[in-house]
Symmetry: C2
Subunit: 329 residues, 2 copies
């Protein structure tokens, strides 16, 4: 059973193709999570411990309702090694509750550096005495494809070895995602012969957009990682804000799971995410971060919301989202 | 004085447009750095402390010869929060010796997430009590542009506020960098009217490549950050492996400093990096990682090399590189 199988199994069991974002910005966190740590000597440790408690309560509220969480690396790195500690501990906690963890790092590099990222997030790292140890321990990682095939292949290799997965950014949810992704191409300027001799390329057909070329590559490279559920561990990020493009991409990557940002706060509705799914009602997992994490703000002030009240609003918002998504499938 | 001014001042003083990569992979590190920590209970702490000692000796060997170091995030993240601790401490140490620090993270995201990365690496982060603190404390960060203008602008804003800088990936040194970067475009497929109304775009002229479009954008957006030395804090990554493209890019971004990977181990020679410079002999800083970090392997085995021997080979290789680069300027 590969990671796509596990994810699909949980999506079917829970009837919830949903991932809850763990994006713990301080303005989002009710005061009750902050007050125990205000007196700590190290202010970065204080933030990290606040974040971890906050995340644990979100996980406790949703692990019986949805299959996965998606911590966004930036909000942890922000607080240096203490923040990174909170990132790791949050992942451990979510895994202990049986959740699938998608690390949203949009990592990208080449060769041994890309392999280092892949091993860090998804695999095992080498220790001083030559033994290996797991490190961050996520199940899936988002990967940015600007460096071309060299920049994706090492992640795919690690996934194949470790039974883990990635989501390659193909069409992102933001307003200017079209700047590069929607460019129509008429051919690639070749590089010097010595380079072309050693390069392996992802091919973009003339007259197609960059995102279509990437989709064809994701589909191709994912063929070695298709599990029993018929889906590949090599998925794609496809924004809820572009339903027309999603329709095209669904055809180009029939076996890939789409990680779908942009629902809720960014403007995508349930109808907009519908084209991301296949007819089997699988093939996509829709993310909500702020919509769930900050739902409490409709009822309570951050200064007044108790932990029990907070958890109730998280659960309520998640159930509501599940109903909303179900209504269009 | 902005960060471009500081970097140029040091380049001129030391006659060395050179940055030394801090890419501490275990096979690169002589045993003498590992042995003190082999008995530690926590094997990730052991690696982190090894890495820090190793990096400190590299910094000690080069800080009087070259202006900057470039730690590559992947090799630290690999070891979780302990690795991140070694990353931060290495940066602190290099700064204490007066060096400019370029964090090579190729980070990319949008909106508040991009701002979180920028604040983490280059700015100040908010604490529980509302005060601010610096976090990672680098001077410059590499940024990947796949998400379009939304994905770069928040980094630029933080740079303007904090007097820091970025290098946007424009034409990378790897063999398949042409997959996306060298695509010739004939126009962008427009997005829905509601999105276009709020989107701001980087424009790529019809018939131009993606890398040329990016260069024009970097040049434009960098105009607000030009310092007394005539250079902008918004630079570009341009690989030493593509001298023809570098010539074109030098014209398109006359005010940007190029961070130039690909010299040495990746096949670029001094002649290949020459087109990255302007006539004033400024405008580029050439990176070497393995070529300097592993120079000792030509003389010593990893099991036998002492710290003094290691430092001598680092210094020797750096001086040799400085001479090599100087010969073509």
């Amino acid at each position: 059973m590969n990671i796509a199988d596990l994810l699909n199994k949980k999506i079917i069991e829970l009837k919830a193709p949903i991932v809850v974002g763990l994006d713990p910005t301080l303005p989002a966190i009710p005061d009750v999570y902050k007050s125990p740590y205000l007196q700590l000597d190290n202010p970065l440790e204080a933030v990290a411990k606040t974040i971890l408690d906050f995340n644990k309560d979100i996980v406790d509220s949703v692990y019986e309702i949805v299959p996965a969480v998606k911590p966004q690396c930036a909000f942890y790195e922000k607080y240096g090694h203490w923040g990174f500690w909170a990132f790791e501990e949050s992942i451990k906690y979510a895994k202990s509750k049986g959740m699938v963890v998608i690390a949203d790092g949009k990592r990208n590099d080449i060769g041994s550096t890309a392999t280092a990222y892949a091993e860090a997030f998804l695999g095992e790292v080498e220790l001083l005495d030559g033994r290996k140890s797991s490190s961050i321990g996520a199940d899936l990682l988002t990967v940015s494809p600007f460096l071309g095939r060299d920049g994706i292949a090492p992640f795919v290799e690690t996934c194949e070895k470790q039974g883990k997965g990635i989501f390659v950014l193909v069409k992102t949810s933001n307003p200017s995602s079209s700047d590069i992704q929607n460019q129509v191409t008429v051919g690639r300027v070749a590089q010097p012969p010595a380079v072309e001799a050693v390069a392996s390329h992802l091919t973009i057909e003339n007259g197609r957009t960059i995102f279509e070329g990437l989709a064809a590559y994701v589909n191709e490279v994912g063929k070695n990682s298709i599990g029993d559920s018929g889906y590949s561990a090599i998925g794609a990020v496809v924004g809820a804000t572009y339903p027309k493009e999603a329709e095209v991409l669904r055809q180009l990557m029939p076996k890939s799971i789409f990680l779908v940002p942009g629902y809720g706060a960014q403007g995508g509705g349930a109808k907009d995410v519908a084209p991301c799914f296949n007819k089997d009602k699988l093939g996509a997992i829709v993310n909500s971060s702020r919509g769930i994490m900050c739902a409490y703000k409709e009822k309570y002030k951050a200064t007044e919301c108790s932990k029990e009240q907070y958890k109730a609003t998280v659960q309520e918002a998640t159930l509501k989202m599940r109903e909303d998504i179900s209504s269009v499938l």
